[in-house]
Symmetry: C2
Subunit: 430 residues, 2 copies
């Protein structure tokens, strides 16, 4: 633009419109640039676009190149939508890279009215734009629905394209971050299982107690961040066993006092090994939490003899998961302990050794989940129908059923998984 133009009202108005668009774009950018967690980022982008374009809905579909699919996070749900990446209008945009401004969705042959039919929503108009990364590859599609008070304008097209450029960068950043985290988490998981594998007796132990701990965590409403720390700490709680001599770890006969003391050193090894790791701030408590899983509320535990609330909350969860797994696993010298006996024992030690809150939470665990954890090593595919039946009950329900009617469908349904060895013997009991 020139320095001394002939000024008209049109010039200025156009300029103001252009200016407002830039301001909007900048505010969207500012907001989305703060978020690096992919799920939250996608939600945030959809929200920002919806507001910036003043329309009713916005979806981001991402290209999953390996599977040849487009997928989208659905707002306010944990589920995602997936479909082959050439289908529908999103698929058309993902392949062609065109911006599609459709004034009347039902008049467009590419539009698939099935989703409207299912949800009861009515799509009038839509604006679609591809998300391109730095290399120019299409990594996804924006789809905005039902502009308020009319159709999408050329200004909307420009704004959405500009937002797409910045969103694509931030989405790729978030994907890199997520990928890196997955690498770390799966590395920790692999390490845990290789350590467990040194001792056939405890094979799968770290994996199982992690699953129990996570279930307890959900039932007492831990937030995402606490859940992650709990998960990593549970997986690593026995890392110190790598420093225990194999001959003692796998000894079939009874341990001498000295050997037992050596084994009791493992939480200290766990701590000193984990303390050498340069954990990020969000995982800074992992060494302490992982190494305090043998502490008891009354101070009779080890390695430090911590008492009550001095034991980290997440360690108290791992302690309950740990004892539960020990008693509900097969040992070469005994079968699983009957569930009723396990909880009788836990209740006796609730408050003195183990935290009653987390024992109680464990009892609220759904039976189908329990079966899946118990059986992950033992059987291939559990009976789906039976699992669906067990879905409706918790450990509490089962304990009640055992007390009152030993031969109920519930007890038998569960027993099938739990005490298979007993079932083959006369006089079996849960």
């Amino acid at each position: 633009m020139e320095k001394n133009p002939k000024i008209t009202a049109n010039d200025l108005e156009e300029h103001i419109r252009e200016h407002d668009k830039l301001r909007l774009l900048l505010s969207v950018t500012r907001n989305i640039s703060r978020e690096l967690e992919i799920d939250r980022l996608l939600m945030l982008i959809m929200d920002e676009v919806k507001n910036a374009l003043n329309c009713d809905r916005c979806s981001v579909f991402l290209v999953d190149r390996e599977k040849g699919e487009l997928w989208s996070k659905v707002a306010h749900g944990e589920k995602e939508i997936r479909f082959p990446s050439h289908l529908g209008i999103a698929g058309y945009v993902a392949s062609s890279g065109e911006i599609l401004n459709i004034k009347d969705a039902y008049a467009d042959y590419r539009f698939n009215p099935d989703i409207d039919r299912k949800t009861g929503y009515k799509t009038f108009n839509m604006l679609n734009a591809p998300l391109r990364n730095q290399k120019g590859e299409i990594i996804g599609v924006f789809q905005t629905l039902n502009k308020k008070g009319g159709a999408f304008t050329v200004d909307d097209e420009e704004l959405l394209s500009a937002i797409a450029v910045l969103s694509a960068s931030q989405i790729e950043n978030a994907q890199l971050y997520e990928e890196q985290r997955k690498t770390f988490d799966s590395f920790v998981e692999t390490l845990a299982s290789t350590i467990d594998a040194r001792d056939p007796l405890t094979s799968g132990h770290s994996q199982r107690i992690t699953m129990y701990a996570e279930e307890i965590g959900k039932l007492v409403d831990l937030d995402d961040q606490e859940q992650r720390v709990l998960r990593i700490s549970s997986l690593l709680h026995d890392y110190g066993k790598i420093a225990i001599r194999e001959s003692i770890l796998t000894k079939a006969s009874e341990l001498t006092q000295q050997e037992y003391e050596h084994i009791k050193e493992h939480p200290n090894f766990t701590k000193s090994i984990l303390e050498r790791i340069n954990f990020s701030r969000d995982l800074a408590d992992v060494p302490l939490i992982a190494s305090s899983h043998h502490e008891k509320l009354d101070g009779s535990g080890y390695p430090k003899g911590l008492k009550g609330d001095d034991i980290p909350k997440l360690s108290r969860i791992i302690a309950v998961a740990d004892i539960f797994d020990a008693l509900s696993s097969r040992r070469h010298y005994r079968d699983r302990m009957p569930l009723a006996d396990i909880f009788a024992l836990l209740h006796k030690e609730a408050g003195s050794k183990y935290d009653a809150v987390f024992i109680e939470a464990l009892q609220r665990m759904r039976l189908d989940k329990l079966v899946l954890i118990l059986e992950q090593d033992d059987i291939g595919q559990p009976d789906q129908q039976n699992l669906q039946y067990l879905e409706k009950f918790t450990i509490n329900d089962l304990l009640d059923a055992i007390k009152t009617h030993v031969d109920s469908e519930l007890v038998t349904g569960f027993e099938k998984y739990y005490l298979r060895n007993y079932l083959e013997r006369p006089g079996s009991k849960l």
Copy 2:
């Protein structure tokens, strides 16, 4: 702004200026939002700001809260500047959070002219702005120097503040990413050393061969990405030993054929364990590279008997590092092999077993670096003066010196570290 204003030339001009600012800001944002690697990001930001503000220089100082320091990456160098976080003008801005537009640097009592004096640069004017994160904490300071054709304006102040908001987000994202990567890398390092520690003979082995491999990598100009894959693969090359029975791993007497075959299984274990890890794309080759370190060029290696270029390049580097460490380490049945003998042996097998390119690169390694790797476990602080002396020579120089004058200062200077046991005995030779 109203819809039907009285339009003046001033209005429009101001508007155009404002508009240009927004465009600039947006272009800066677009560029920096693409970079998630902290070092590259900081360089990029400094460059973008310099151009956007049309000035001669820009530095970003970041707050290191733990150390109470400000630090900055220096353009085109690997070094960084560090100073206590209350010093100088950057320190003032970091503490006060003010934007400081200084028309005459030398007239300002807070200005430290030392750096100008050292570098020969002349600072006339400067604009400084704090970088604040989402929580409003100051995470750093922008410092721009010498506006071209005048002093920094109020427009510059506004533009720099706006860039600061977006830069702060992106810097924090990059720091999170970096932190996560450090967590992973130090975890891998810790794992490697715990696995080595199972066998006193190989204690420190993974660490050392990683250092040799990295040195070779530098000398053959691997890029950053290859170096990282090399590093992780070297650290993990013996992970499979976790599945080897301790009794065999630590057996003092000679191994039976069967025991030896069992030990030779470890690259397969390394591979199958590492393949369970959900590696990010940039680390996808780690399982293959880590598990191919016993392959030989002529196909006589294991586990697959790969030949020549079918063996991944990075595995061929690890193979050289591995054999060099084995021969230059003490064993309970022998001392380190004399360096001249090691290279005589390597040259005999160059081309048939080991890649000559990487043997040659290893010979170009500086002697002070070799000493630091050799001695990291054995001695506390190597003699600094001697190290500085050794800095000027490579392994090649030493091999030459051995051939020609056995008693040169170089040979004795190195021997001090290498064959300390021999030195104590009469008739020692290198």
